[in-house]
Symmetry: C2
Subunit: 351 residues, 2 copies
DNA sequence: CATAAGACCGTGAGCGCTCACGGTCTCCCG
DNA sequence: CGGGAGACCGTGAGCGCTCACGGTCTTATG
C-alpha cells in the first residue's frame, strides 16, 4: 500500500469485524482510504470515480476478499437479482421430460451471465403456489419464468396482479391474462410433420394428441387438422392423459382398436411416442414398414428409441434465449412482445 | 385517502407507503394496535404473546396482505433461507440424465416443505464456480448441495473453507476434503447385477464402465470385479468417455471388437446402456438372446428401450431425503454422518 | 481574473427487520 | 401485604448497503 497513511479513526473495529463475519463496505473503504460512497460507486457503474480511487478500492476488495451483501443491497434497491423458474405442473413432469431439463439448464446459464440467479420453484400444490405468490409479492424475486402448460392455470392470473414481471414459456394459457410468452411454433411444426407423413405415402393417418388443456395438446392437433382437413378421421385421434410414456402406450393401444387400419401416426411428444412405439411393437406392427411414426420435441430420447424417431425439433436454446431476454426487458421496463419460434423436421428412421 | 384518520404520529407515512410498496411490519403493528416487536414475535415462534395480540396481528396481516421482507430479515439474522443446488458438471449433463432431473425436483420439493428455497447453480466453468463461491461467502445461501461426480473437483475444496455447510451427492470425490455425502451403494449394486448376469448363464461378461474419475465409474467397476475376481477379462472392460448415449455406443462398439465373444455386458448407466443397445443392434446381436445387458440407475429411459432394460434402481427419493436432512442438520449445527443407500435389481427384458 | 460547469467524493438518512434490554402488570407465596 | 417470578410488550440500536445531497477542487470560459 504505497499511497496510504496509517489509517483513519473509523477503522478501529473494522479489522476485527472483517475477520469475524466477512468484510463490509466500510472496511474496504477505510483500507482504500476512501468513503463508503466511493466504494459503492465503483461497485455499481463506477461513474465519477477517479482512476486512482478505483484502483485502490479494487485492490482493497481483493485484499479483504470482500463480497457485497446482497441482502443489504436488496433491502434498499428493492431488487433481488433472482428470477423464479416456476414449474406449474404435476410433480412428475420434470422427472420425465428431458426438454424441461434442457430448458432449465439453458435458462440458468443465460441468467448467470447476466449476473442473475435462478430459484427453482414448484407450483403443483396450492401451498406451493402460495409460496410462489409470496415470493413475488415479497420482492424476493425480480421476475418469473412461468412454465405452465395447462390452460386456466390459476397461478398466471394471480401472478399478474403482483405486478412482478412474468414471461410464460410455451404459450399464454387461454382464458388467462395476456402475458408475454415465447414458444415453439407448435401448430406449424405439426403441419410440417403431417405433410411429411403424407409425402411419405401415409394414407390413413392417426394422431396421439397431448392433453386437451395444454398448448401443445391443442395446437399440435390443430396443425394436424390443418393439413388433413375433413379427411381427418375423428376415430383416429385420441388425446393422451399426460405427457408420459405410459399415457402414450395406452393412447396408442386405444388407437389400434378404434383405427386398426392406420398406416401412420403423429404423436404429440417424443415421450408419448416412446410409449406408442412400445404399443406398436407389442401389436406386432413394424415401424416404419407397417406404420410411420412421427414425434415432437426432439428430446434426447428421440435418438434412443428403436427405430430412432423422426420428430420436430423445438429450438430449445432459442426459446431459452428469448425467454430470458424478454423477461429482462420487462424488468428493465422496456416494451416486449411475445415470440413464436420456428421448428424443424428431424428425419430419422421411424418415418 | 378515505380510511385514514389523523392517527398516531408514527403512522403518518405508513398508509401511503403501504399502498406503494407493500405493507411493512410497522403497518401491521399499528393496525393490530401493538408494536413491531410483538409482530416479530408472532412471526417467528410466537412465544410470550397473548392470544389476543396474536389474533389481532394475524388479522392485520391478513387484512394488509403483509409479506415479510426476506432481505431485511437476512440482513440481521445472516441467514437467507436458500440452498444452492450446485451442478458441478459439464453443461450437457442435466440435459441428458433424467436421474438428475428427478433429484432436483425431489430436493426442491423437500426443501420447500422446510420453508427453504433452492437456487440452481451451474459450476462448469471457472466463472460459474467463482459465482458459487461468492454466493457461499456472501451468505447468500445457507448451505450447498453439491452434485459432483468427478474426482478432484476444485469446487469441493474451495467450498469447505467458506465454512458454509456442504453435502455432496454421490460420493465425496476422492482426494478432496472429507465432506459428508449421501449416495447409492454403487459397488453393492454392481455386485448384484454382475451376480444376476452370472446366474442367468452369462459366461463371458464384459463391462462398459463410466468415466474413470467418477464415483459411479470406479465403484461400479469395483463391484463388477468383486464378483468376477480374476475371471474378469481386462479386454472386456472399457470406460466410456462420458455418461451419454453416444459414449455408450462407442464403448460398446469397441467392446465388440476387443471381446467379440461376449455373452453379457454390464453397462454402468442406463443412458450408456441405450447407446450400447444401439451398437449391439447395429452389430446384429440380439438382446437378450445373444447378449444379456444390464444397466444402472433405473432412470425413466430404462423402461423405454427395446428391449426394456434390466437395471439397478437407485433409491432416488431416499437419496434426496437424506441429502436435505443431512444438510439441514449441518446447518442446524447437529452432528451428521454420510450415508450409503441400498439399491435394488429391477428385472425387465434385457437380461 | 471571476465564475460557471463539471468531476469527484463524503455524509446522513434510511430500507424493514431482529434481538437484547428493560419496563409494566399480574399472580402467588411467605 | 411486600416482593419475586413470570408473562407480556415496547424501544433502541443496529445489520450493510444505496442514494440524494452538498461540498470541494479542477478546468474551461467569458
Amino acid at each position: 500500500m504505497p499511497d496510504d497513511a496509517p489509517a483513519h479513526p473509523k477503522s478501529r473495529g473494522a479489522a476485527r469485524r472483517a475477520q469475524r463475519r466477512g468484510p463490509t463496505m466500510e472496511d474496504v473503504a477505510s483500507i482504500a482510504g476512501v468513503s463508503r460512497g466511493t466504494v459503492s460507486r465503483v461497485l455499481n457503474g463506477a461513474h465519477h470515480v477517479s482512476a486512482a480511487s478505483q484502483q485502490a478500492v479494487r485492490e482493497a476488495m481483493r485484499q479483504t476478499g470482500y463480497v457485497p451483501n446482497e441482502s443489504a443491497r436488496s433491502l434498499v434497491t428493492k431488487r433481488s437479482g433472482a428470477i423464479a423458474f416456476v414449474l406449474s405442473e404435476p410433480p412428475d413432469r420434470l422427472f420425465e421430460d428431458p426438454v424441461l431439463g434442457g430448458l432449465l439448464r439453458l435458462c440458468t446459464q443465460l441468467l448467470g451471465v447476466h449476473g442473475r440467479s435462478l430459484m427453482l420453484m414448484l407450483a403443483g400444490t396450492p401451498e406451493e403456489r402460495d409460496r410462489v405468490l409470496d415470493f413475488a409479492r415479497g420482492g424476493h424475486v425480480d421476475g418469473v419464468l412461468l412454465v405452465s402448460m395447462h390452460d386456466g392455470d390459476p397461478l398466471a392470473a394471480a401472478l399478474v396482479d403482483t405486478s412482478v414481471p412474468v414471461v410464460v414459456c410455451g404459450r399464454a394459457p387461454v382464458g388467462g391474462p395476456p402475458l408475454p410468452y415465447v414458444g415453439a411454433d407448435d401448430r406449424g411444426g405439426a403441419r410440417t410433420m403431417t405433410q411429411y407423413l403424407v409425402a411419405q405415402g401415409a394414407r390413413r393417418l392417426a394422431m396421439v394428441a397431448g392433453p386437451g388443456d395444454t398448448a401443445g395438446g391443442v395446437e399440435r392437433l390443430a396443425g394436424f387438422k390443418d393439413v388433413l382437413g375433413r379427411r381427418a378421421n375423428r376415430r383416429a385421434i385420441v388425446c393422451a392423459a399426460a405427457y408420459s410414456i405410459e399415457a402414450g402406450r395406452e393412447a396408442m393401444s386405444q388407437l389400434l382398436r378404434t383405427a386398426p387400419d392406420l398406416d401412420a401416426v403423429f404423436v404429440a411428444s417424443d415421450l408419448l411416442a416412446v410409449g406408442a412405439l412400445q404399443a406398436l411393437a407389442a401389436a406386432g406392427r413394424r415401424v416404419p414398414e407397417d406404420v410411420l411414426v412421427g414425434g415432437f420435441d426432439d428430446s434426447t430420447i428421440a435418438a434412443a428409441t428403436t427405430p430412432p424417431l423422426t420428430t420436430i425439433r423445438q429450438p430449445l436454446s432459442q426459446v431459452a434465449g428469448e425467454l430470458v431476454e424478454i423477461l429482462l426487458d420487462r424488468i428493465g421496463g422496456r416494451p416486449v412482445s411475445s415470440r413464436v419460434l420456428p421448428t424443424t423436421l428431424v428425419r430419422r428412421e421411424s418415418a
